[in-house]
């Protein structure tokens, strides 16, 4: 959009260039807002105070259009609108809203920039930068400064600007360029004389009352904002300290719990090891007794089925032989008795 706009209007727009078609004037009395513009000069703050009293009439679209048209017809009236905008800080919110609507109507009617339909901050900043880049010369002339102020007020009211961007724009607008700006490039902001403190900034300003009032007001606003931020920082620092202290306590508690958990885990592992050890011992004892029992049974079976039976059988055979062979009988019986004695010894618990 910006490119098309630039192509369509190669030169920086100025007031009084061909305006869009103006609405057909109708015969009905001007609204107080229009009267403020075209009538006798009135103090802005007094006018706003007056408008805020009693029932407040919300201007319709026709009223807003006539208000804007009055400025288009005579651009010097823009100064009055800016006075209203500067003074509206003390007005009631409804008045401020009415003034914002009138401002938007004026901006759109002036058509110095293409107001984004969706009113997004980034697009609005691009539009402002583009407009400033098309202005042939800086510092801006008073009429151009008025337009810039109008645009800044509008942007500020609609939340489309932050103070950094506004200051950068203003800085570019009031400074002489170091190099002639190229058409295709936006105007580079000129670095102002460096000021380390607000007082230095005041002292390098031109000694004009209006300027000084404005600077003082700026300084006070920054100071107020700075104080507020300092209080916030202090409060948040205190909160952080409290949270850090609380975190330390919690960390200590967690470390304690961790240690406790570790101890419990160690105890559990030891207990499990002990249980496993005891279970293993139980199994080993059971296996050991089972083995002893099997060994005992086997040995007894071996003795009874093997040697004892065989020897007794041999003794019996020798006894039945003709003639009986006493030596063999005696020997086998002796062997059998010796074996029984030996096995009895083996069966003793102490064996």
């Amino acid at each position: 959009m910006e490119t098309n706009d630039r192509d369509a209007t190669p030169h920086a727009p100025t007031l009084g260039t061909k305006p869009p078609a103006s609405p057909t004037p109708q015969a009905f009395p001007p609204s107080p807002w229009e009267t403020y513009l075209i009538g006798k000069k009135t103090a802005a703050d007094a006018f706003l105070a007056k408008m805020g009293k009693g029932a407040i009439t919300i201007p319709d679209q026709q009223t807003k259009d006539r208000f804007a048209e009055a400025i288009v017809v005579k651009p010097a009236r823009l100064t009055r609108l800016i006075f209203l905008l500067q003074a509206c800080g003390a007005a009631v919110p409804t008045i401020r809203n009415i003034l914002a609507d009138l401002t938007e109507a004026t901006v759109r009617r002036l058509s110095v920039i293409t107001v984004p339909v969706s009113l997004e901050a980034a697009a609005y900043e691009v539009a402002l930068t583009s407009w400033l880049s098309r202005v042939p010369k800086t510092p801006l002339k008073p009429a151009e400064l008025n337009i810039l102020f109008l645009l800044l007020h509008f942007g500020w009211q609609r939340g489309l600007l932050d103070h950094r961007f506004a200051l950068t724009l203003l800085s570019s607008a009031v400074s002489k360029p170091v190099k002639p700006p190229r058409k295709s490039k936006p105007v580079e902001p000129v670095v102002l004389p460096p000021a380390k403190t607000p007082l230095e900034a005041l002292l390098i300003a031109p000694p004009a009352r209006a300027v000084l009032i404005s600077l003082v007001a700026t300084s006070q606003a920054w100071s107020s904002q700075s104080d507020k931020l300092s209080r916030q920082i202090k409060s948040q620092t205190a909160e952080i300290e409290r949270l850090v202290a609380e975190s330390s306590v919690l960390k200590a508690a967690i470390a304690g719990y961790k240690e406790e958990i570790q101890n419990l885990k160690t105890q559990k592992a030891a207990a499990e090891g002990r249980v496993a050890d005891l279970e293993r011992q139980m199994v080993e004892i059971r296996d050991g007794y089972q083995h002893k029992l099997d060994d005992l049974r086997g040995r007894v079976r071996g003795v009874l089925q093997g040697q004892l039976t065989r020897w007794l059988q041999t003794a019996l055979d020798a006894a039945r032989s003709d003639p009986p062979w006493t030596k063999a009988i005696e020997e086998r019986l002796e062997d059998a008795l010796r074996l029984i004695e030996k096995e009895l010894q083996w069966l003793q618990p102490s064996a």
Binding site: Q281, V283, E284, I285, D287, G298, G302, A318, S321, K327
Partner: protein
């Protein structure tokens, strides 16, 4: 429970042992898995579809000795490594399969004992010192068929010594006392006589020399006793016809002879009586004789002398006097024979002869202790190669841990052929005579020789020779040499490595 158990797969008897705590004292010790208080006979009987193993199979034997008797195989271990099968019960069976039947029986017997968490699928198995590589490989194969993974082989005498020492409550003290001393293990079993000269040095129990004799096993004594019995019976009854033995009498005679042999260990004489031995009328039908110890000893005098001579032989090879032996550990069933004990006492004196009460099971117990203690075999002596300047180059150093199941270790070496004029590079692999004595002047004992063709036209020190020595899990070393110019390769195997057991980490009993 230890996952690995000890297994003594013996020529005549076999027994498995696990280590566990005594349920009353909680001190760990061996649990010997016997059959009716005795080891399982290494006998297989193929009568039905399922082979019968052990004592029941032995009861079917009608003949003494080792080998095949009808449908019974006694001592199948002796057939391992043989290219021919075993013809038993009209069928030719592979020795691996027969041995697998024995091992499977032992494993099932162990499993039936109900030891919690022990699947009896990993064993330290003992082998005779004379068992060759192919037999070891087949034994491993048979064990695998039986569901047993052989964690490690151990020589029977080394296992016996470890079992004997480990059973001592003051095991560490005993080891300290034995530092740098020599011990002779004299294992005279039913099938073979094995001797091992061991030395304890720096907490390593090493085999120094091994010797064996398969011709003087206990089975030979049984045959001689039967011969004596027959001669005495025939002397009493000259007309007795021993061809007319009653069908069941041979088994009863064998048993009577075995009883007599045992009885003669404690009595000067014994009476043998076998009713209805012969199917003939008259008094000669019964065996009714008395055998005295001197008679029996005179019949086996040569066997005893030959066995005892083995002691002198091994000491002579080692170059040590009998007085240098700290003690002789006598194990095996035959050492209960008074003549043998007397011979051992004459050699070593009464104080230096150790007779163990558990002679029938100490080998198995030693294997179980080795498994329990988790100690591995290591090379007792380095494998060296003779260099052209008559020095010896160490290829695999002493103390090298020997590979366990499924593993192999190896070492490579390169050299140049000094004298290729005859077309061959000659390699001599050897080891020092004594462990930890590998200096230049120490005597060496050769392992094996190897010749590799080389380029005879090349000048000396031109052709590079590569030597690669590996040791597999069957404890067989294979030396391979390769000539890089001629491109020939030759290899040879070493079966008689000596082993050591590092006992530094083993504590006393009850404090594992």
């Amino acid at each position: 429970m230890a996952a690995t158990f000890g297994l003594d797969f013996g020529t005549t008897n076999s027994v498995a042992t696990v280590i566990g705590p005594d349920p009353e004292t909680m001190k760990i010790g061996p649990r010997v898995l016997t059959q009716d208080g005795r080891p399982h006979p290494s006998v297989v009987w193929y009568s039905t579809a399922d082979p019968v193993v052990g004592r029941h199979a032995k009861d079917q034997l009608n003949e003494l000795g080792l080998g095949v008797f009808g449908d019974v195989v006694r001592s199948p271990k002796m057939f391992l490594g043989s290219p021919t099968g075993i013809y038993v019960g009209g069928i030719t069976r592979q020795a691996v399969d027969v041995v697998a039947d024995v091992l499977r029986f032992l494993r099932l017997d162990a499993l039936g004992r109900g030891f919690t968490g022990n699947s009896f699928d990993s064993a330290v198995i003992t082998i005779p010192v004379t068992m060759r590589g192919p037999a070891r490989a087949e034994l491993r194969q048979a064990a695998q068929k039986a569901g047993i993974r052989i964690h490690q082989f151990v020589h029977e005498p080394l296992a016996a010594l470890y079992g004997y020492l480990r059973a001592n409550p003051n095991f560490r003290q005993e080891l300290a006392n034995l530092e740098r001393r020599l011990v002779l293990v004299f294992d005279w079993g039913g099938g073979t006589l094995d001797l091992t000269l061991c030395q304890l040095q720096d907490n390593v129990l090493s085999q120094v020399f091994n010797a064996g004799d398969a011709e003087v096993g206990g089975d030979k004594f049984d045959l001689r006793l039967r011969q004596l019995v027959r001669h005495k019976h025939e002397a009493l009854h000259p007309s007795a016809d021993w061809t007319r033995l009653q069908p069941s009498s041979e088994a009863r005679l064998i048993q009577a002879c075995e009883d007599a042999k045992i009885a003669l260990s404690s009595r000067p004489s014994t009476a043998l009586y076998v009713r209805d031995l012969l199917a003939v009328p008259g008094p000669e039908k019964d065996l009714r004789i008395e055998v005295t110890r001197p008679e029996f000893e005179s019949y086996v005098k040569d066997l005893v002398a030959r066995g005892l001579d083995r002691i002198e032989s091994i000491l002579e090879v080692a170059g040590v006097h009998r007085g240098a032996i700290e003690f002789c550990l006598a194990t095996g069933g035959m050492v209960s024979m008074p003549a043998i004990q007397e011979g051992l006492r004459e050699i070593f004196g009464i104080n230096r002869l150790r007779l163990v009460p558990n002679a029938a099971t100490v080998i198995s117990e030693g294997a179980a202790w080795i498994a329990h203690d988790g100690i591995g075999l290591q090379l007792a002596k380095p494998i060296e190669l003779l260099h052209a300047d008559n020095s010896y180059i160490e290829i695999i150093p002493t103390g090298t841990p020997l590979p366990l199941d499924g593993k192999t270790i190896g070492s490579k070496f390169s050299m140049y052929c000094v004298d290729p004029s005859d077309g061959f590079a000659k390699f001599l692999f050897a080891r020092p005579k004594w462990p930890n004595r590998a200096t230049l002047g120490e005597p060496r004992v050769p392992y094996t020789h190897l010749s590799v063709p080389v380029d005879s036209h090349s000048r000396p020190l031109l052709e590079r020779l590569e030597v690669h020595v590996t040791i597999d899990h069957d404890l067989i070393a294979e030396a391979r040499a390769y000539s890089t110019m001629r491109g020939h390769s030759r290899q040879t195997r070493i079966h008689d490595l000596e082993f050591g057991l590092s006992v530094s980490t083993v504590a006393n009993n009850g404090n594992p």
